[in-house]
Symmetry: C2
């Protein structure tokens, strides 16, 4: 087996975020559940956009954010996801390429426009997401390059991929290709409602196809239908090699066969917008993991990257993460 040319290939829904301030009353009026992701159709996206305040646009997508963070740390990454050949698709392609991630999935030349996520940030810095999947539903197995998957130590898949109809096939093809090449497969559970929609499949995946799991507390509790974090952590151990379970300001717990690490959260300079916290935790963790660092160091790198991204609007890093990691003695 040759030495991998890439650290991580991330596969996900390619999305441009539209981020605006909103108050709790606005969420209530719109029937939105704070902190979660809701799938919306184009008509609803337009209606909600018309009601929202002024926004800023920033490339997003869970795995896209994770790969951007990995690249900012100095990691070698590639991304697979589907945009349309429109202005927002060009923005997405520019941003992920400019930060140093390889992105060669061709844009759709017909069909729905590039996916958008309307993100409402409340004064408590929580984000509530409304995703119009748009062109990302066109991602399919034909977009998976098995040679690229084989060239990466880890293939990182977002649970959100189970929402569009064909992406699941792409997901399974990528996981097979990774394991056939002796590489690792990582999964993030993405969102508690996403777990609810796909619980049985996620459990089966976890049992049989996933080496590395990322989940936040709400997601792992939903996966195992328990209210006890300790119970969820007990159940996940042994189902996969490593599980990194994030708990917001309580930090994270990294669970492996014979070890458990409790990692404190890193304090952001200022808490502005929690969008991307989990995605960037995965960036840091995967960066450490693909360099063979201790799991505790992987977790601390995750906390560091999450703290940077929640200190400003938008789910991609603003400060060069490699410098922050070096300053923290974690490079």
């Amino acid at each position: 087996m040759t030495s991998p040319a890439l650290d991580v290939v991330g596969i996900g829904n390619a999305i441009v975020d539209v981020i605006a301030h909103a108050d709790d009353a606005f969420l209530a009026r719109q029937g939105l559940v704070k902190g979660t992701m809701t799938l919306i159709d184009e008509r609803r996206a337009e209606a909600l956009y018309a009601e929202m305040g002024p926004g800023i646009e920033s490339s997003g997508g869970s795995a896209g954010n994770t790969m951007a963070g990995l690249a900012s740390l100095g990691g070698r990454g590639a991304y697979v996801g589907k945009v349309r050949d429109d202005q927002l698709g060009a923005v997405f392609r520019h941003d992920i390429t400019a930060i140093g991630v390889r992105f060669s999935t061709p844009a759709a030349t017909s069909g729905p426009s590039t996916a958008r996520c309307l993100i409402l940030v409340t004064p408590d810095a929580q984000r509530t997401m409304n995703t119009y999947l748009g062109a990302s539903v066109a991602l399919g197995p034909e977009d998976i390059d098995e040679a690229e998957i084989a060239a990466a130590q880890v293939t990182y898949l977002e649970g959100y991929l189970f929402d569009p109809p064909h992406a699941k096939e792409a997901f399974r093809k990528a996981a097979r290709a990774a394991h056939a090449a002796g590489r690792k497969v990582a999964l993030t559970l993405s969102d508690p409602f996403c777990v609810e929609r796909h619980r049985a499949e996620f459990r089966e995946l976890l049992q049989n196809h996933v080496d590395l799991l990322f989940a936040n507390e709400a997601e792992i509790l939903s996966l195992f239908e328990t209210e006890s974090f300790a119970e969820a952590a007990r159940q996940v151990r042994g189902m996969c090699e490593v599980a990194a379970l994030t708990r917001s300001e309580k930090g994270s717990v990294v669970v492996a066969a014979h070890e458990t690490h409790e990692i404190p959260a890193a304090k952001p300079e200022k808490l502005v917008d929690t969008t991307g916290a989990g995605d960037l935790y995965a960036s840091g963790f995967l960066y450490g993991f693909t360099r063979g660092r201790d799991l505790a160091v992987c977790g601390r790198l995750g906390s560091l990257c999450a703290a940077e991204v929640i200190s400003h609007f938008g789910a991609r890093p603003e400060a060069p993460l490699a410098r922050l990691a070096a300053d923290a003695g974690l490079a």
Copy 2:
């Protein structure tokens, strides 16, 4: 004369900003002069974009920013400017409408795409702008609604309007309509290179058609071809009713026929990105002016709004300016 239904109508180039971090070496390699605005064509815009780092998109345009600030203060504003019927045009329309500004200029349905300004923010928080005028060149006198102009106390025009070929006619039509209705005409000089391109016309305008002038130090020095700020201030007095001259961290000087006010700069919470500082100064000043406040209070409102906008990425206010003004005892 009926009481005006609007405080200000702003007319300008309708632009979406693409904002990215860059270092001084990047500016040097690209031959860019820090702190200024350069006009670029579509090919150059694409080439520069390809070299830039990842960005965020935010609605901009000098007069658009000023009107957004006015609305955030609680002022009644309208905006005139030309976008294309594309995704970025929809973003521009959404943002200015959502903050409460009337915007009824129809989008162009053919021709170049919505204007973009590629803004490079250096570590010193200075912004260097590269504008592709795109659809904004389609603005013409047919877009000026004389009834709307007559309904506003002040018609605010950006000097940048002298760059596209037809906008100047729109500018002159609007100024005539404003004066015919007994209203005021305000002008911002926009950029020192813009002043150099149009110096003779700007001087003639100032002498004969402008009641209220906004300019920063570099612009007013260029207008009068002097190196002395005192000399420039002396020359501008008498050419127009009021001139508000901004001097970055040195604050501003408001010059009128029989009074001069030195206004200190307001300190931003954190200096992040100076984009929009002059535009938001004009928001605050015009808000005070249209409420008949003392010129010194107008200047302090300007400083307050400028301080908010330079404390974050992007040229539109993030915090509700009405609340900041109330907190500062200026509402």
